[in-house]
């Protein structure tokens, strides 16, 4: 029984981190209307940034947030501005230009292989790690401290993004653009700039996820791919473009992965995850928390 509770807690914690990795994906999709295939690679870039920040400065891993988040925001902003935006301009009259998806796939390959070239294929873990293997014991329950912090960051990041979108001038402009790009530009909003900002925010949240992963996860060039596929499943499950949906979708996946092995061989949990994914697509294609009238 105690294992059951522990697994449930662990599932929720790890799931919220999955949700955090998917958060940026859902934001970018919600605004640009295209799936960003490079998202896992952005997470990977964030993990390398956090890794090197710790390795070079000896900072506490979580303190690297102050460095990684702004760097990732700027990286995402200009990635969209310089690489992706020209395609959007060329396909002005297409609402969901498929060519952009191909460009993001190109970005994925370039980033992954560039990292492989520069840093090599080694698995890296941070050496100065005050969090390694740290456990919190509550009434006989063992809870991983870095995962707990991951959970907290996921909740704070999701809430912050939500409040930003609801309450600020730029947030309203982002929502307006996501609902009707032409009408937004008639209100004086430059949609391409909104795309830059949305991509920047999506990349910055991948940076937050990266920082929370680095204390207990290996860093290597293709680490993003693992989270990419989970991310796609999560956003479809939760509803493309839905912030709450991303977090809850992540927690559902985390719970299946963590509690499932109590009842079956661990490999079967994957079948359940994909089975649920298909079921949602059949029954409620807009996702559990998605809105049908998104546009």
């Amino acid at each position: 029984m105690i294992y059951m509770i522990e697994d449930t807690i662990n599932g929720i914690l790890m799931g919220s981190i999955y949700g955090l990795t998917a958060l940026g994906l859902t934001i970018i999709f919600g605004v640009l209307k295209v799936i960003n295939f490079a998202h896992g690679s952005l997470l990977m870039v964030g993990m390398y940034a956090a890794y090197w920040a710790v390795a070079l400065t000896g900072l506490h891993p979580y303190l690297t947030l102050v460095l990684v988040v702004p760097v990732m925001f700027v990286f995402g902003y200009y990635l969209q501005d310089i690489v992706i935006q020209p395609i959007f301009r060329a396909e002005k009259n297409v609402r969901e230009p498929i060519t952009v998806i191909i460009v993001t796939t190109g970005v994925w390959y370039i980033l992954d292989n560039l990292t492989l070239l520069v840093f090599g294929p080694h698995y890296r873990t941070i050496q100065v790690n005050p969090l390694r293997g740290r456990m919190l014991e509550i009434g006989g329950l063992m809870i991983s401290v870095p995962k707990l912090w991951g959970f907290v960051s996921a909740m704070v990041a999701a809430a912050a993004v939500y409040v930003f979108l609801q309450r600020t001038r730029m947030g309203r402009a982002i929502r307006a653009t996501s609902l009707d790009r032409d009408a937004a530009s008639l209100m004086g909003i430059n949609p391409y700039k909104v795309y830059n900002v949305a991509f920047g925010i999506g990349t910055a949240t991948a940076g937050i996820a990266a920082v929370t992963l680095v204390p207990f996860y290996n860093v290597f060039p293709t680490v993003g791919v693992l989270f990419d596929i989970k991310g796609f499943i999560i956003v479809v499950l939760g509803g493309l473009g839905s912030i709450g949906g991303a977090i809850l979708g992540g927690i559902i996946i985390g719970l299946i992965e963590s509690v499932g092995p109590q009842f079956m061989t661990a490999t079967w949990t994957e079948a359940i995850v994909y089975g649920l994914f298909l079921l949602v697509l059949f029954v409620k294609p807009a996702g559990l928390f998605g809105v049908k009238y998104d546009w």
Binding site: A173, D182, S185, M187, I189, N190
Partner: protein, 236 residues
């Protein structure tokens, strides 16, 4: 110097020419109607004025400066605000949020709260509905939001594309009364309409657009009395 001066523009959708060598002028403080049937090029003309489309040739001068190559957001900042056909509200946002987005441009943003009050005074219905999601409003209310959102941008020249489209006769009347009020408060209005009778009745001047060309222009009263207009547009 004219307020808005359109000189010999040609506009295409890909290979198809929709507007041919069109010229018109709007003076400050006027209400000008553009009338014409479906596919005459009325909406295309407004889309070109607001920068959503670009004229292939010709010039568009607003307050003496060329705007034919400017993007929509820059044109809004200059003071031309386009309320598009079919309302195009931000459907999943509240009425209040829709209005606030209207005041996004740099010229209007500092006056947001005062403009909001003015819009609520002009359209009191919107104040009652401000927390409601735009999609759930009736057609007439949605049109009010669209007009209110346009006013939030503090237009010098307001372009209205078929504000009466799809509305019940009683609502059409109230929409046109609102347009009249907006004009009386000093905003110049360029109105595109299929409801020729109502739009010419409240306008100073009118242009008749057929197959992408201006075929007739003049004071609104004269156009209303014209035999061609009577037979083609008013069915009299």
């Amino acid at each position: 110097m004219s307020f808005l001066e359109v000189k010999n523009i040609d506009v295409f959708y890909d290979d198809v020419q929709v507007i041919f060598d069109l010229s018109l002028t709007v003076r400050e403080g006027e209400v000008v109607s553009i009338i014409g049937g479906n596919g005459a090029g009325k909406s295309t003309l407004l889309r070109t004025l607001s920068g959503l489309m670009q004229a292939a040739s010709g010039e568009i001068l607003f307050e003496g400066r060329g705007i034919q190559a400017a993007p929509p957001e820059e044109i809004v900042e200059r003071g031309i605000v386009h309320v598009p056909e079919g309302r195009r509200l931000f459907t999943l946002m509240t009425v209040r949020d829709n209005l606030e987005v209207g005041a996004y441009n740099r010229r209007a943003a500092p006056h947001l709260h005062r403009t909001l009050e003015e819009v609520y005074t002009l359209l009191p219905r919107l104040a009652e509905r401000q927390a409601q999601i735009a999609m759930t409003l009736s057609g007439g209310e949605q049109q009010m939001v669209a007009i209110g959102r346009g006013l939030m941008a503090k237009p010098k020249l307001l372009l209205l594309d078929e504000p009466s489209l799809g509305l019940a006769p009683i609502l059409i009347k109230s929409i046109f009364e609102t347009v009249r009020k907006i004009a009386d408060q000093g905003t110049t209005v360029l109105l595109v309409e299929q409801d020729v009778h109502h739009s010419l009745s409240l306008s100073d001047r009118g242009y008749v657009l057929e197959h992408g060309r201006i075929v007739m222009e003049g004071p609104a009263g004269e156009l209303l009395a014209d035999p061609h207009i009577k037979s083609a547009y008013l069915g009299i």
